[in-house]
Amino acid sequence: MKTPDLGRVDAHEKVTGTASYGADRVPDDLAYAMFAVATIGKGRTVSIDTAAAEAVPGVRLVLTRFDEDELRGPGFLMGGGFAFQSLQPLLSDVVAYRGQPIALIVADTLVAATEAADLVRARYEIEPFAVGIDDEGATSVLQEEALPWFPDVKVGDAETAYAASPVQIDETYLHPAQHQVPMELISSVVQWKGDRLVVHESTQNAGALRHGVAAQLNLDPADVDVISPYIGGGFGSRNALQPHIGPLALAARRLRRPVKLVIPRRQTFHTGSFRPVSRHRIRLGADPSGRLLAALHDADHQTSRHDLYPAMYTEITSRLYAVPNFGGRQRLVQTDVQTPGFMRAPNEGPASFAFESAVDVLAYATGQDPVELRLANDTATDPVTGLPFSSRHLAQCLTRGAERFGWQKRDPRPGSMRAADGSLVGLGVAVGAHPVLVAPAVARMSAGADGRVTVGVDGHEMGQGIRSAIALLVAQDLGVPVQDVVVRVGDTRVAPQHLTAGAWGTATALPAVHKALRELRKRLGAGDTGTVEVAAAVRATGHGSPEVEVTSVGPGQPPEMLDRSRAGLFSAAGPVFPDFTAFSWAAHFVEVRIEATTRRIRVPRALCVADCGRVASPVTAASQVRGGVIWGISEALRESSEVDPRFGGFLNTTLEEYPVAVNADIAEIDFDFIDEPDLLLSEVGVKGLGELTMIGVAAAVANAVFHATGQRQNRLPIRIEDVM
């Protein structure tokens, strides 16, 4: 059965402003916090003068150092901890990067806190630093040696097969650092209720916040509630404990007042994670018809000095095609920045830009049509494991997309197509893939005598529409109106709240909800299918409000993973499951037009055809595609976090100077879904969509620019000077 076309269940709240985001709360007696941050690239604070800050009327606290007994390190998310980085500011005199907090000010008003933060003066001992991956002082390690649990993908003997290949492509690509810049600033309201700590923060990982801050402050996690019903854009920037929460909680305890912190936009460029710089050398060996014989993917990937943020680029580039020999080698380059992290399509975006650009080069080198070359290299089997893909409709994405886009009208010769106004026209194609991961989940469901059904489940509403997808599933299953379904997500009081990211949110929550529905039906004495008269059934049970609780895990996941999830630890599994490998797939088609003289690059239309399994919520899925494609266009043509190597840190730290795409940059975005459920993965058949929709867009744009101009673009963003 296809899902009916219903809107967002929370649209009215969002549009009318009644949806309450993390820092919207203003409890009585609220105090306001602000950080003062380091103004050097690296070194130590010799002294911090806070006298002027303390003298500002209304200032209650100026904190520059916590004791290690009261505030412990939070641990790195990818190293068994809870936080986006292991470094906890305000524990020592070390300044690891520009913009690191060096003092926390709490005052009666935001104005006073801000003024005081500006008056904090530090004396520093400056040390040499390196921010760029090629800067003197940047050091590197091979990932497979430093992090053996994140091995490089290796299949067959890629070097030998490449050397023996009749056609060889060898290209190097550079992807810049980028920041997530969600509309909602990083912010929290922290409040003690007796010994109980309540954190209101828009987070994608309430579970890690709960357990992380408990570990930092030596609290029982059961005494910490984290509440995150809505998120004004996550994109990976809110996927872990942030270093402000511990200090904020301690300040609130000292003052016996709730404390709010909204980190200003400029500071967010240094206080949270970002997409690191990466460089990709892609070598493709093929026969003269373009059939791939070998692929090598060498990546250099920026990380911080204090954490090894792993690269996973080769996870998808080894699976896009039937490549019998694949050699991955990933190198981590340590620089003096905050730890980079997951920004929408963190690995897959840069990896697909590089790999799919090289595949386009191969198509031209062998005289093949870029769509046909991709179809000829299709595979139903995972070349890395030999397992079948749980579902792979990539060929259908390509053929359906080519027809819908009018690909056959394309003259393949570069520079051959012109618009009526003299602009160069280019059409480009690229594919994308995203691993399907599934996390354990807990779902609680209750039915009331008023006929309403309440479901609380693991998951966070980031705007992707998880609340709508859950409500739709319940409404359809029970045959109740969707407005009678109450969904509670992002709340540690109803479920552990494992990280929602990696496009696994819906695929994780829905199977648990589905299972809870089966149990609830039993409790209500209803059959396993068919419409349920909920109010009557509840009355017939003789109980006020029957409630069920179920758990679910990913395919083949041991039940112990639930214990990890309940402890706030990362516990998603995939994309390799015991009997299959699971990815979602997409084909992207892009038209660019380049002005004849001033060479502005425009994207009048883009098409995404996605295989994301069953489409759980058509309205929000469509929104996901538009958002993803816009992100891809912005990645390809706009965004770059600029570094002046003399100063460190990032320089363009405002929404004016950090150029995300604006409405005027975006024209027609068309899309289509294969909409075939992946029933090997789960009964619900949902894979993942949110990140998939941007993966391949940048390569399709770059390939279209090549088609328009004959110039290859191996570095993002592609700007006017690159096509002059």
Binding site: T39, E115, R646, L651, E656, P659, D665, M724
Partner: protein, 333 residues
């Protein structure tokens, strides 16, 4: 941000009195779109601001009697959307439409916009970055830094910050004048005399006295207005400062010969830049791709390329070329 006194006069005369009595460094507040931003960044720290945004006598717009006149307090959005301006002076209207965002244009005034300060990242970035404009004698971090959008014309060894505005670039092409008022009464100056190049004192950006206030902007009527356009090239399609921009206006006789030509350059110079030699190169010529391009080359003949933004010399030439050809089409309509 520091505490400051906030003064709200009820008339222009009251504003002049308040300004005369104010502490040094006091600022006039109109739309607030630049001043508040810079105060939050700590770049501006006035002891007092004098809020003139409610003074109705500053908001008059008139379009008759041989000139256009815009009260300094008129909003950018109002002037951009004025039917006479749109019809007879498209370059003026377009320069406003292509600036900032609708929200900002609804707040910002046409007087305040003339004095918008540079977007140089080192000027705005904080005390740790050398900037002779913000902190005289501290050096210019941009000279060896991220200079992709810095000035190609009118720069000095002390400062290469670009004047960011669009409106003044269009106005300068039309010989606009300013009426200003101070304790010594009113005076008039050409807009071309308002802004100054940085030289060895980049702090000084304009020639208004500390106690003077802009009353209105006047533009002499000219048939060249109809044959005009404002062409702005930037890193995205909206809400961005110019990489290069050009205000162009031409008058053509019946044979298509250029009898009047005006060219202003934006995004490339330390002040709104009038390209007079380029204008002269077109007088008496037919307007063709070749002559327009030649005018562009003349306009940038003295350009001193910045290290990472050298492409903007050629881009600027092409921007002028396209702007002139569009202006020519407008003139022939």
């Amino acid at each position: 941000m520091r505490s400051f006194a906030y003064v709200v006069p009820d008339s222009v005369a009251g504003a002049v009195d308040a300004l005369a009595a104010a502490e040094p460094g006091t600022k006039i507040l109109a739309g607030g779109t630049t001043l508040y931003d810079l105060m939050k960044l700590g770049v501006e720290a006035p002891p007092a601001v004098i809020d003139i945004h409610r003074l109705a006598e500053l908001t008059e717009i008139s379009t008759g009697e041989g000139e256009l006149s815009f009260g300094a307090g008129a909003k950018m959005a109002e002037v951009a959307d004025h039917p006479v301006v749109r019809r007879d002076y498209p370059a003026l209207s377009e320069s406003l439409w292509r600036a900032a965002s609708q929200q900002l244009r609804n707040m910002a005034t046409v007087g305040g916009n003339l004095l918008q300060r540079t977007r140089c990242g080192y000027f705005r970035g904080g005390a740790e970055f050398g900037c002779n404009k913000r902190d005289p004698g501290s050096g210019c971090a941009a000279l060896e830094g991220l200079d992709r959008t810095h000035a190609l014309l009118g720069a000095s060894d002390a400062c290469i910050a670009t004047y960011p505005g669009d409106w003044a670039v269009a106005l300068i092409a039309f010989d606009a004048e300013l009426d200003v008022v101070g304790p010594r009464g009113e005076r008039t100056l050409p807009l071309g005399d308002l802004h100054v190049e940085p030289g060895d004192n980049p702090v000084l950006e304009h020639t208004l006295a500390a106690d003077e206030l802009i009353l209105r902007i006047r533009v002499p009527a000219t048939p060249a207005g109809r044959g005009s356009t404002y062409h702005k090239i930037r890193d995205r399609e909206s809400y961005a400062f110019a990489l290069t921009s050009a205000a162009a206006a031409v008058t053509l006789d019946a044979q298509g010969t250029v009898t009047d030509c005006r060219i202003g350059l934006g995004g490339v110079a330390t002040r709104p830049w009038r390209a007079t030699a380029a204008e002269r190169s077109l007088l008496g010529e037919q307007l063709t791709m070749g002559t327009a391009r030649h005018a562009g080359e003349v306009a940038f003949a003295d350009a001193r390329p910045v290290r990472t933004g050298a492409f903007r010399v050629e881009l600027g030439i092409r921007t002028v070329t396209d702007a002139l050809l569009t202006a020519g089409k407008q003139a022939a309509r």
